[in-house]
Symmetry: C2
Subunit: 284 residues, 2 copies
């Protein structure tokens, strides 16, 4: 990180805004630039004082920048590759925070110039809130950041950046990443959305704690999640299919009505669940 | 509640134990008796000092009691009806805290003597912890208690009891109750259990917050939930079928790949979700 003088963030929302503040906190001398396309978001971000400087021109925001962070929804990250390409300096490092990695990596390869390097990142943290106003400078502390481009020129610098911010950097290839995240996050959102859609509206005032738990992420933003589902379509549909089979099998067990079989099955699930709880409590 | 001198709790676990402490806190002069069948649970409960007196004989626990509270899993509540029937005093009120109400009401009608009255109760609160050691005397404060036997002789007294403990008592018939709880709680648990079963074990250490949210209730006790699924089988299987269709339709939307349609669908869900969040924040 020693040679880094200027960092630009495109997409100063909750994730990008929190990263801006985390970077300023850890590296006060680095200039952090934000990009705000619309007048409305410029006005909002200026008030929040979240970055050192806010640009409305993409060229100005990116020029001379050592690290460019793309923190918008997946499909818009791909659009940004094309737009920033002409303005990147020699040895610029471009990273993204998207939740699907294969399509992004392919697009980076296609659109970014050879003089720049790309490092795919996916910090495993977030919030059900969206918008820069909820920014949290400690968001990345104690979380895992998956890095999908171990081979790139900038990988070492970016690993160092995440580690200095208190994240644990873990290298994984983009194919494995997308397969894993489909199961651990994308399917989960699909289930929560579907459950909220399913529950009859007149029952909502009697929502038990369990329903509140399972629908908590149902306010995740539509544009972000439409992009994730579409950009990881194959894995998500595959997992959905398997999950539906798991549900139907459970239904069969209930239909058959052998109490002991249901008790055994739930006991097995209880045991597996303790692994999740145990891991959740581990310090990085 | 003025005429109530003695209350007996069968099933002094988390729910029953919390109720014992809530009753003692609000009505210090009422004698609260617990029943512990096994030596092990007797020893454990004696140490917790959760009730005024602990009995290992069901007859002794129930005799002269004004209110008998059945707080065990559903099928064991039904067994208790048969066992306590010969020992009930004139005008004794028997209530239960079970999560399925139709089978319980039918069993009460069949097994309890005419001199006693039955009031089905379902407090909409709980915890993913089980066991009397986690008892919380304020568990019922600010929660809803559904009462499914408005016509019974004891209904007025029991409504008063819940209200004095800070619960909002809502009358609903047992058929509607089971239909509603299937959608708001039973299906939710089935989904959580299935998701925990589904996720590949080697991915667990990278569990995102969303997965932790949705699997939180997967440690709910097997004996309790086997009974609930079996005692509300028809509604649960019916809702499971509808929910699977909702999932499959979402999958179709992703397969078709029209971004705007997915965005519209999630926006509609976001809006409905705000109703849940809004209701959750309401004071009773």
């Amino acid at each position: 990180m020693k040679s880094v003088k200027k960092i630009t963030i495109l997409g100063v929302g909750f994730m990008g805004g929190s990263l801006a503040r985390a970077l300023k906190k850890k590296f006060p001398s680095i200039l952090v630039i934000g990009y705000a396309r619309s007048k409305a978001s410029y006005g909002k971000l200026i008030k929040l004082k979240i970055v050192d400087k806010l640009e409305r021109s993409l060229a100005k925001a990116v020029v001379d920048s050592d690290i460019i962070i793309l923190a918008s929804p997946v499909l818009s990250i791909i659009e940004h590759f094309k737009k920033i390409a002409p303005h990147l300096k020699e040895n610029a490092i471009v990273i993204d925070l998207g939740s699907s990695k294969e399509v992004i990596e392919r697009a980076a390869e296609k659109h970014l110039p050879k003089k720049a390097s790309f490092v795919g990142c996916h910090p495993l943290c977030g919030s059900d809130k969206s918008g820069a106003q909820f920014f949290n400078p400690d968001l990345y502390k104690g979380s895992i950041c998956l890095i999908t481009s171990a081979g790139g020129k900038g990988a070492k610098t970016i690993k160092e950046m995440w580690e200095k911010l208190g994240s644990k950097a873990v290298f994984i290839n983009s194919r494995q990443h997308d397969k894993m995240l489909s199961a651990t996050s994308h399917l989960t959102h699909l289930i929560s959305f579907s459950l909220t859609d399913f529950v009859p509206k007149n029952y909502l005032k009697f929502a038990a704690a369990s329903l509140k738990d399972l629908t908590r992420i149902s306010n995740s933003p539509a544009n972000v999640w439409a992009d994730i589902f579409l950009s990881n379509k194959k894995n998500v549909l595959n997992d959905l299919d398997k999950f539906v089979k798991t549900l139907v099998n459970f239904g069969q067990l209930i239909k058959k009505g052998k109490r002991e079989d249901i008790v055994d099955y739930i006991n097995h699930i209880n045991k597996k669940h303790r692994t999740i709880t145990h891991l959740a409590k581990q310090k990085l």
